[in-house]
Symmetry: C2
Subunit: 272 residues, 2 copies
Amino acid sequence: MFSFVNNHFVSAGDASLKINDLSITRGYGVFDFFRTQNNKPLFLDDYVERFFQSAAYMYLEPPHTKNDLRHIIVELIDKNNISESGMRLILTGGYSNDGFTLSEPNFFISQQPIIMPTAEMFANGVAIISHAYTRQMPLVKSINYMMGVWLQRSVKEQGAYDVLYYDDEGVSEFPRANVFIVSKNDVLVTPIKNVLSGVTRKQVIALAGKFIKVEERAISLQELKSAKEVFMTSTTRRLLPVNKVDDVMIGNGKAGPICTQLYQAFVKLEES
Amino acid sequence: MFSFVNNHFVSAGDASLKINDLSITRGYGVFDFFRTQNNKPLFLDDYVERFFQSAAYMYLEPPHTKNDLRHIIVELIDKNNISESGMRLILTGGYSNDGFTLSEPNFFISQQPIIMPTAEMFANGVAIISHAYTRQMPLVKSINYMMGVWLQRSVKEQGAYDVLYYDDEGVSEFPRANVFIVSKNDVLVTPIKNVLSGVTRKQVIALAGKFIKVEERAISLQELKSAKEVFMTSTTRRLLPVNKVDDVMIGNGKAGPICTQLYQAFVKLEES
């Protein structure tokens, strides 16, 4: 298995950064993560675009053009030949002598096999908990997931699958996924403020427009808990129904009809 | 020059982490930073204690006991023989296969020469800007300095030396330093809520008690701007006077008498 580091393909086990990189010393970097299916990257242009936007906001200049990056990705996919995989792009603050000032960024791509949620998991949905928290720079896909990783212990202790952030302005997102509801009056709603611009989120909104009214607006935790359906969207989960939020059951506790319909449409879109 | 990685002394240039470490992929880790003077570590017990507290809060278990760690630090100081230096301890979330779940932590120590502020810099003080921001988990010395590093561009563009965070509850701290004021009624005040428990801060409070009244309480940005003196405290700066906050001059724009007196007492304490 190969990774790509700065400008070279290297054996994945040898891919490393020196300990004075600003990702290690100061948690400074941006990333993105997309899937391959049958050795083809899905929605690659969207991910590359977002990666460059995150980098620009964080004053980090990628060492390759968008076009070169797409070619490198395709070459890495060919070399590794992992049909169904996740690919991670990271761009860091670089090796900093004073431990604080941005330097020439380090860039790498890694690839790993990926297992998607099963049909059974989709049908039953997953339980989630809520946590009061506002992400820093929510529009940027930075590597700052300290809170998300830290909360995993609470998630497991409460027998949940994931945690949904909310604050005074309503629910926002999961550490690694966006959230949607089907409201009491049958509108598909997803928050718009302080959320990452998810690629799956974008596709789901586009697909949904054909058969249900869609709104991007604030959703209070209370509205979410009384919704007909709740589901999450992410690269590694497509759409995944939520059957319980804290102690409140959602709908009949199974995958809802709108989420199911959208899931089928999304899988078709991937295949096309 | 040597670093110490997990359980071995290695050439500093070879000290590295694989790219699936959770510090790199998720910004997850804790650290601490202390100085050596004449090849002796200053206030080592305080720093080691805080490092272990940060680690425990973040569910990271250091691979060495406090006592072993102190011995390793002394051995590294002997090997490198850099009389005046900064030493960084880092403990990360470890190599994570799924890119999110905590694993066995990676631990390292690095050492580098350090240059302290000059007497002239102390006498003239430094200009700072303010920025509305509340740190995440402010009591833990995590590696999350994304905002601090990101703000350096604003700091430089405005010709300032550093940036002070504040929120609705008042000023808190600099990215890497605590803040003190001498109030209008001649009390030394420093914020107590949402601030890192600085080792220099603690020593300054203890030293100050002998000749000025000390309060730990909230300070509004407005009170700070109208204070008789403002100064910062940190490992790499001891005490450093602030001569300007945003566009407001502090005192007569030079090092104040209380800060100067405390600085002299602190240098004596270091030497003892």
